[in-house]
């Protein structure tokens, strides 16, 4: 089973490696965006699909990741830039952005951990958890909108207008060799790398004993607790990981559009993420990507062709999938595969 997964996964990755060679720049950009949003969906699938906790807070961690990246990258890069000016070595953005990337992942993770500690240790669960995380997302958005006058370092937060001219991610060896991923294709490969890494990490987590405890909590929390597992600890841990993933997605998004604003992580983003996971298939990891790809691709396609009616059609498709295939598209694929495996035995 593991081998099959590995082979299929490799083929899938290879396809994605080859895709930019045949696609136009516009579609390479779009593909990057789909993958970035896929990571966000993955973060929700980890906590919702595997542990059974529906969080509407992923949008907040997404935004947090974006803002932390924007603020730190712009602050740090300015200094580096000045240093290099004296060497007459003017680069668009001097130095690498590793620190910003790390901070933009760690900061949302820490916030998720603190939040998770207070919520899970207070035994908040189910609908109440949804509502609290939803309101926290809205509160965070409101706070950012109010911070028009403030600036952190040299960078104004900008309130509703957000932060613009955020530098692209830049890789290399600090102060020696760096390369900013301005080329959409290079940026795409970086995103693909992050996507693959997060998928592999999530897959490893979910298939370890730790993952089996997560599914045990989803399936029967009281039973798991009465076996001596401190379920709160596991919930906080998985919430932290999922916060880190959402932060990663946010920083990539911010770097992709070189822009972040409160509108980037409104309520609709959190709601859409839930839809992506549902469509793709809850608790399958890869389903998160399938869902986010398909939905966003259809959105793009339909909004071009049917300028007025596309939302209606999208809504119709969502309802049909949820009604007819509660396990999502991956559920359909699994069922097909099962029927293929089983059919020769009957003959």
């Amino acid at each position: 089973m593991k081998k099959i997964f590995r082979n299929k996964f490799l083929i899938l990755v290879l396809i994605f490696v080859a895709l930019p060679l045949v696609l136009s720049t516009y579609y390479v950009n779009m593909l990057s965006l789909f993958l970035i949003m896929g990571i966000l969906a993955l973060s929700l699938d980890l906590i919702w699909g595997y542990t059974g906790i529906l969080s509407f807070g992923q949008g907040a961690f997404f935004g947090l990741g974006g803002y932390v990246y924007a603020i730190t990258a712009m602050n740090l890069l300015c200094e580096v830039q000045i240093r290099h000016l004296s060497h007459y070595n003017v680069v668009n953005h001097g130095g690498t952005t590793y620190i910003s990337i790390l901070l933009a992942i760690i900061f949302p993770a820490v916030i998720a951990m603190i939040l998770g500690y207070f919520l899970f240790y207070a035994k908040v669960s189910g609908v109440y958890f949804c509502i609290i995380t939803l309101s926290l997302t809205l509160i965070f958005q409101q706070i950012i909108m109010e911070l028009v006058e403030y600036q952190i370092g040299n960078i104004p937060i900008g309130g509703f207008n957000g932060i613009t001219y955020v530098p692209r991610i830049s890789i290399g060896i600090p102060f020696w060799f760096y390369y900013s991923l301005e080329d959409p294709m290079h940026f795409y490969y970086f995103v693909l790398f992050c996507t693959t890494a997060s998928l592999v990490i999530c897959y490893a987590i979910c298939n370890s004993p730790f993952g089996s405890i997560l599914t045990a909590i989803r399936d029967n929390e009281i039973r798991t607790e009465s076996f001596g597992y401190d379920v709160r600890k596991y919930k906080v841990m998985v919430f932290t990981i999922s916060g880190a993933l959402a932060g990663l997605s946010g920083l990539l998004y911010c770097s992709w559009g070189s822009f972040i604003s409160p509108a980037s992580f409104d309520f609709f983003l959190s709601a859409e993420t839930v839809i992506w996971v549902l469509i793709g298939g809850k608790g399958t990891l890869i389903g998160a990507f399938v869902g986010s790809f398909l939905t966003q691709f259809l959105e793009n396609l339909l909004s071009d062709v049917l300028v007025y009616y596309w939302l209606l059609i999208m809504g119709g498709i969502f309802i049909l999938i949820v009604l007819l295939f509660p396990k999502g598209i991956m559920g359909i694929i699994y069922r097909l595969r099962l029927s293929i495996i089983r059919s020769p035995k009957k003959q």
Binding site: I222, R223, E225, F227, G228, D230
Partner: protein
């Protein structure tokens, strides 16, 4: 080994358990009987930490466990089987047993590492005890009611409990299944202290020496089966008073 002192639980003024003083020696196999609403399951819920008593103490091995969380009590070795089969319905039988087997190496779980082969061996052993060896790869939710009960007993065994709380282990079982359950429980009781809540007198006759009768949240009487059967008060609460 286990002792409750003036244990009381009130639900909105109704006393489900009322000033209960119960004690249990190590190695005992104790049955608790009593009519519906006598407070038996509430007592189990308090011992295992799912309910906090209104007042009173629970003492286990000279240690107060009254205010501990369910998982802390489980780590002390008090493991509980629920009244309705409470297994992981979407897991296979093997995976069901894996969860309790893993708790001993929780430190390694938290580091996301994989576990040793010992867990697999332990699962095999338990499958043998509960006689579900051929069903290891079946989904637990598709087992028969009796098999699910055995699986849950097996899962509690995997924890190597020092005190086992069984809430109606034979509920909804056929005669044969009940008999087999009795044998399994007798086997376990050689190494473990057990408290059983049970209604089936036939079953109690087969396994138990000491019986506690509960009524209206407190202990009515304690003794051997013969003493209990000849006690007029017990007959009265079960059959109603003769007029």
């Amino acid at each position: 080994m286990l002792e409750t002192k003036n244990l009381t639980k009130e639900f909105d003024g109704f006393r489900a358990v009322d000033n209960l003083n119960f004690s249990l020696q190590k190695g005992e196999l104790r049955c608790i009987i009593g009519p519906n609403g006598a407070g038996k399951t509430t007592l189990f819920n308090m011992i295992s930490g799912f309910l906090k008593p209104t007042y009173g103490e629970i003492i286990y091995n000279n240690e107060k466990i009254t205010r501990l969380m369910p998982h802390q009590i489980a780590q002390k070795g008090i493991i509980r089987k629920f009244q309705v089969p409470n297994v992981y319905n979407f897991f296979t039988v093997n995976d069901n047993l894996k969860i309790p087997c893993q708790i001993k190496s929780e430190g390694r779980i938290l580091l996301f590492t994989h576990l040793s082969v010992e867990v697999g061996k332990r699962i095999e052993e338990i499958l043998e005890i509960i006689e579900l060896k051929e069903k290891g790869k079946e989904i637990a939710g598709e087992l028969s009611h009796g098999e699910m009960q055995w699986l849950e007993i097996g899962m509690t065994l995997a924890m190597e409990p020092s005190l086992l709380l069984l809430d109606e282990p034979t509920a909804g079982m056929t005669r044969d299944e009940t008999k087999k359950t009795g044998e399994i429980i007798k086997n376990i009781s050689r190494s473990t202290t057990i408290i059983i809540i049970e209604h089936d007198i036939q079953f109690i006759r087969e396994i138990s020496r000491e019986i506690t009768v509960m009524h209206n949240g407190s202990i009515l009487t304690e003794g051997t089966l013969e003493q209990i059967e000849n006690d007029e008060r017990v007959r009265n609460i079960y059959l109603g008073k003769e007029k």
